[in-house]
C-alpha cells in the first residue's frame, strides 16, 4: 500500500502514468528496491569518500595499519543488509510475477498475430484491427503468435511485456482501470518495419467499447454480399475443411457445388440450392454427400440468416452453373482428379 502511495507521487518522472493495479504494484516494488539501493550505493560510495579523505597519506613514509582481519559484527550486518535487499527484490517480485502468468478464467480474449511491420489484433467476433481496443475494468487475455521473427508486446502504462515467438503461443493478460490512449510497442528489434510496430492501445468505458465493436464489426457495410460470404468463409474456419479449388478435404470443395446434384450417403439425391445450403450450415449432418463423414460442427446460433444469404451468394460465384439445377450426378471426390486448373 505504501509502495502505491510513493509510486503515485514520483512516478510522473520515472514511469508513464499507471493504468492497472499490476502497474501500480510494479511501481511500488521498483521504488522499494530503489530506496534501498540508493541507500546502499551512497553508504558504500560515501564511506569510501570519507575514508579516502580521512585516511589519506600525510607524509611520504606513512604506512597503513597492519591489521588484516575483518570485524565480524560489522561484516555480518553488512551482509545481512545485502541478503535483505536481494531477498526483498526476489520475494517482493513473486506475487505479481505469478499473478501475471495465469489469466483469470473467463477473461475477454483477443488474439494477436505479429509479423514484421504490423500487428493483427483479432477480436472474439472475428473483427481484425491494427489498434488494440479494450474495455476498462474487464480482464483481457491476449493469446499471441508470430508469423516470422521474435517480437514482444510491450504496453508501458500497464508495465506489461511479453515475448511473441514464431512456432508457439504465448499469453499475457491485464485489466486496464482507466480510459485513455496508451503506447503499444515491441521491445525486441525485429528488422524491417520495426518502427511500424509502435502503435496504440485505446481503453474505452465498457458501453463505449461495445458500441465501437458493434459498429466496426458490421461486415455488411461497404461490402457486396459475395464479399461478405468470402469473409465469413475465412473467419468461421470453413476453409479448414472446404477448399475453393475443387480439391476435396474433410468436406467437399466449394467449387462447382451450387446448382449441382449429388448422391447422399443414405442413397438419396439432393440438389444444392438455397435451402440445402442453409440446412448444411445449421444442421450439416442431416443429409451428407456420399464419400464424406458426418463430422461437421453445426453452426446453428453462430450465423444469422443474412450471413447465410451472403454465403449462398458467394457459393453461386464459385459455381459454373450459376444456380441452374441440372440432373446429372457428380461426385466431387472424383471430379477433383479431373480438374484442369
Amino acid at each position: 500500500m505504501s509502495g502505491i502511495l510513493i509510486g503515485n507521487a514520483i512516478s510522473s518522472t520515472w514511469f508513464p502514468e499507471a493504468a492497472s493495479t499490476h502497474a501500480r504494484n510494479v511501481d511500488g516494488l521498483y521504488f522499494g528496491i530503489y530506496v534501498a539501493a540508493v541507500f546502499a550505493l551512497f553508504l558504500f560510495a560515501g564511506l569510501a569518500l570519507v575514508y579516502i579523505t580521512v585516511f589519506r597519506r600525510r607524509d611520504e613514509s606513512q604506512k597503513g595499519e597492519a591489521g588484516r582481519r575483518l570485524n565480524p559484527v560489522f561484516l555480518g550486518l553488512w551482509l545481512l543488509g545485502a541478503v535483505g535487499l536481494a531477498g526483498f527484490a526476489f520475494v517482493g517480485g513473486i506475487p505479481d510475477f505469478v499473478d501475471q502468468t495465469v489469466a483469470p478464467y473467463g477473461a475477454y480474449r483477443i488474439h494477436i498475430n505479429a509479423r514484421q511491420g504490423n500487428w493483427d489484433f483479432i477480436y472474439p467476433n472475428g473483427h481484425v484491427a491494427d489498434t488494440l481496443m479494450v474495455a476498462v475494468d474487464r480482464p483481457v487475455h491476449l493469446t499471441m503468435n508470430s508469423e516470422d521473427v521474435e517480437h514482444s508486446l510491450s504496453i508501458p502504462a500497464l508495465r506489461l511485456n511479453q515475448a511473441i515467438l514464431p512456432g508457439r503461443n504465448t499469453d499475457a493478460w491485464f485489466e486496464a482501470d482507466r480510459a485513455g490512449d496508451f503506447a503499444v510497442q515491441s521491445n525486441l528489434y525485429s528488422g524491417a518495419g520495426y518502427d511500424s510496430l509502435f502503435t496504440a492501445m485505446i481503453a474505452l468505458e465498457a458501453q463505449d467499447y461495445e458500441k465501437w465493436l458493434a459498429d466496426v464489426s458490421d461486415i455488411f457495410i461497404g461490402r457486396t454480399l459475395p464479399e461478405v460470404g468470402e469473409l465469413l468463409y475465412n473467419r468461421l474456419g470453413c476453409k479448414a475443411c472446404h477448399t475453393i479449388d475443387g480439391t476435396a478435404l474433410i468436406g467437399p470443395s466449394f467449387k462447382d457445388v451450387y446448382g449441382f446434384e449429388f448422391e447422399t450417403v443414405d442413397g438419396g439425391r439432393v440438389t444444392v440450392d438455397d435451402a440445402y445450403v442453409k440446412e448444411s450450415i445449421l444442421t450439416p449432418n442431416v443429409s451428407v454427400i456420399a464419400g464424406f463423414q458426418p463430422v461437421m460442427t453445426p453452426f446453428a446460433g453462430l450465423v444469422n440468416d443474412r450471413e447465410i444469404e451472403a454465403i449462398t451468394a458467394w457459393l453461386k460465384t464459385l459455381s459454373s452453373r450459376g444456380g441452374v439445377p441440372e440432373t446429372e450426378a457428380e461426385v466431387p471426390g472424383e471430379e477433383a482428379g479431373q480438374e484442369e486448373n
Binding site: 528496491i33 564511506l47 527484490a89 517480485g93 511479453q162 528489434y189
Partner: protein, 525 residues
C-alpha cells in the same frame, strides 16, 4: 637494480629489438599487452564514433533514417562489447601483469598469447570489412531469426566474432596454465596477488565462454549458409538466445572480475595497508565465477522463458549481491586506517566503486521477477550494459593504467592533467548514463533511446554528459600518449607496493627478472 635501470637507458622491453616487425612477431607478454592496449583503444574510438551518431540522433539530428540507425546501433555494441569490454582488462592488463605478478619470465604459452592478439586483429579487420561491404542490422545479440534474414555481410561479422571468440579461449587457457605452472618458487595459490587470482578465475570463464561462442557462431553461420540445422528457420529463436547469453553472461563477469583484482591491488598498494580479508575476497570472486555460469537466464527475462525457470535464474542472479557486498566491505575495511596516496588513480578507483556499484544494483531490479519482465528489454537493461562498459570496466582500466603506467613505460604521468581527465570522466559518464535509466523505466525499448524523446531535457542532459565524458577520455588519452616520449622517469617502485612486479625495473627488461624472484609474505608494508 636502480643502477641497471639507468645503464640500460630505461628502455627495458620497449627498446630492442625495435621496429614494427619485431613488435608484431614478439612473444613477449609485455609487448603483447601493450599492443592489445593500442588495438582496444582503437576499437573504443570506433565505438565512440558510432555512439556519437546515436547521441546526435537523440538530440534531433535529421537525415538519419531508422534503417541506417539500426546498423549504427548494431556496430556500436559490437565494437564496445566484443572488442573493448571483453579484452580491456584480461588482454591488456592481464597479459602485461600476470607473469610479472607471478615472478615468471613470460606467459607459459607465449605462442598462444601472440595468436590471440592476431586473432583479435583478424576479427577486428573482418568486422570493419563487414561495415564497408554490407553493414548488418541484426543487433549485437545476432538473434538467429534476424541473422538468417539479414541482407548485409553477416558472414563476415560472424567470422570476425569467431576469431575473437577463439582468442578468448586461447587467453583463458593461457591464464590457467601460467598460474598453474608459472608461479615463482615458494608462491602457493594463497600467496598469489589478488589480481593474479582474478585473472586465474577469469581464465575459466574466458576458456569456457570462448570455445562455446566460437562453436555456436559456426553453427549459426552454417544454418544460414546451408539452411535448416541447429539455428535454422524452424528453430525456436530462444535456442540461440539461451546459448548466446550462456556465453555473454559470463563475459560480463570475466570483464569485471579482473576489475575487482585491479581495484584491490590499487587500494592496498596506495593505502600501504595489507588487503583485509584476502581469503574472503578470493572466496567472493570464486562465488562470482560460479554464479556467472548459472545465471544467464536473467538476460532472457520477458523474452519467452518458462516462468518457473525465470524464478530460478532470478534467484541465482540475485545471489550475486552477496559476494559483491563482501568485496565492497573488504575495500572499505582496507581503506580504513590506511595511508592512501591521493592522485588521479584514486578518482578512478572511487569512480569504479560508484559506477560498478550502480551496475550491480541495477542488476537487482532486472533480476526481481515482476520488474525484470518489464525492464529486461528496455533501456534500463541497455543502460546497465553501458554502466558495465563505460562505468565499470573503463574506470578499472584507467585506474590500472594510471597505477601501472610507470611500470609499463618507465615514466610518470602528469598527475595534474590526469586529475582533470579523471574528474571529467567520472562526472561525464554518470551524466551521460543516468538519463538512460529514466528512459528505461518509462518503457523505451532497449537500445532505442536515440529514437524517443523522453521527459524534457533528458536527452540533452545525456548529450552534455557524453561531451564531458569524451573530453575526459581525450585528456586521459593525450596524457598517456604524450608520456611515451616525454615524462619524468619513474623508479622501480613509485608507490611502495609489495607485489613482485614492483621488484623489477621500470620498464622491466625483456626477461622480466634478472634473478628468479622468491615469493615472500604478500602485502607486507
Amino acid at each position: 637494480m636502480s643502477d641497471r635501470a639507468t645503464s640500460t637507458a630505461a628502455a627495458g622491453y620497449l627498446g630492442e629489438p625495435s621496429g614494427v616487425g619485431a613488435w608484431f612477431t614478439s612473444l613477449d607478454h609485455k609487448r603483447i599487452g601493450m599492443m592489445f592496449l593500442g588495438w582496444t583503444m582503437g576499437a573504443l574510438l570506433l565505438g565512440m564514433i558510432f555512439t556519437t551518431i546515436t547521441v546526435a540522433k537523440s538530440v534531433g539530428a535529421r537525415g538519419l533514417d531508422p534503417g541506417f540507425m539500426y546498423r549504427v546501433l548494431t556496430y556500436q555494441r559490437v565494437f564496445l562489447v566484443f572488442l573493448f569490454l571483453v579484452p580491456a582488462l584480461p588482454s591488456v592488463l592481464g597479459y602485461f601483469l600476470l607473469p610479472l605478478q607471478l615472478g615468471a619470465r613470460n606467459m607459459m604459452l607465449p605462442v598462444l598469447a601472440r595468436c590471440s592478439l592476431r586473432f583479435y586483429v583478424v576479427g577486428l579487420v573482418l568486422i570493419l570489412v563487414s561495415v564497408a561491404v554490407g553493414p548488418v542490422a541484426t543487433g549485437w545479440t545476432l538473434d538467429s531469426d534476424l541473422f538468417l534474414r539479414d541482407t548485409g555481410a553477416v558472414s563476415l561479422l560472424g567470422a570476425g566474432l569467431f576469431f575473437l571468440a577463439v582468442g578468448w579461449f586461447l587467453t583463458g587457457l593461457n591464464f590457467l596454465v601460467t598460474v598453474h605452472h608459472g608461479r615463482a618458487p615458494g608462491m602457493g595459490f594463497f600467496d598469489m596477488p589478488i589480481l593474479a587470482w582474478s585473472l586465474y578465475l577469469s581464465g575459466y570463464l574466458l576458456a569456457a565462454s570462448g570455445i562455446i561462442f566460437a562453436i555456436i557462431i559456426l553453427y549459426l553461420m552454417a544454418s544460414r549458409a546451408f539452411g535448416g540445422g541447429m539455428f535454422g528457420a524452424d528453430a525456436d529463436p530462444l535456442l540461440w538466445k539461451n546459448y548466446f547469453w550462456f556465453v555473454m553472461r559470463p563475459a560480463a563477469f570475466f570483464a569485471l572480475i579482473p576489475g575487482v583484482g585491479v581495484i584491490s591491488e590499487i587500494v592496498t598498494g596506495l593505502a600501504r595497508k595489507p588487503l583485509a580479508g584476502y581469503k574472503t575476497l578470493v572466496g567472493a570472486m570464486i562465488a562470482l565465477t560460479g554464479l556467472a555460469f548459472v545465471s544467464w537466464g536473467v538476460n532472457l527475462a520477458g523474452q519467452g522463458l518458462d516462468p518457473g525457470l525465470t524464478l530460478v535464474f532470478s534467484a541465482y542472479s540475485l545471489l550475486v549481491a552477496v559476494p559483491a557486498a563482501l568485496i565492497a566491505y573488504i575495500w572499505l575495511a582496507t581503506l580504513y586506517k590506511g595511508a592512501l596516496a591521493l592522485g588521479a588513480t584514486v578518482v578512478f578507483v572511487w569512480g569504479f566503486f560508484f559506477q560498478a556499484g550502480i551496475a550491480v544494483l541495477m542488476g537487482l531490479f532486472l533480476a526481481s521477477p515482476a520488474l525484470g519482465a518489464y525492464l529486461g528489454t528496455t533501456m534500463f537493461a541497455s543502460t546497465q550494459l553501458d554502466y558495465l562498459i563505460w562505468g565499470g570496466v573503463m574506470s578499472a582500466l584507467f585506474a590500472g593504467l594510471h597505477f601501472w603506467w610507470p611500470k609499463m613505460t618507465g615514466r610518470h604521468l602528469n598527475d595534474e592533467v590526469a586529475r582533470i581527465g579523471a574528474v571529467l570522466y567520472v562526472v561525464g559518464v554518470n551524466l551521460a548514463l543516468v538519463p538512460g535509466i529514466i528512459l528505461g523505466t518509462r518503457g523505451v525499448p532497449q537500445d532505442m533511446g536515440a529514437f524517443v524523446n523522453g521527459p524534457a531535457g533528458v536527452n540533452e542532459t545525456s548529450a552534455l554528459g557524453w561531451l564531458v565524458l569524451y573530453s575526459g577520455i581525450g585528456v586521459i588519452a593525450s596524457n598517456l600518449i604524450s608520456t611515451l616520449w616525454e615524462g619524468e622517469g619513474a623508479p622501480a617502485n613509485p608507490w611502495g607496493a609489495t607485489t613482485l612486479e614492483w621488484g623489477t625495473d621500470s620498464p622491466p627488461e625483456a626477461e622480466n627478472f634478472v634473478e628468479t624472484p622468491h615469493a615472500g609474505e604478500i602485502y607486507r608494508y
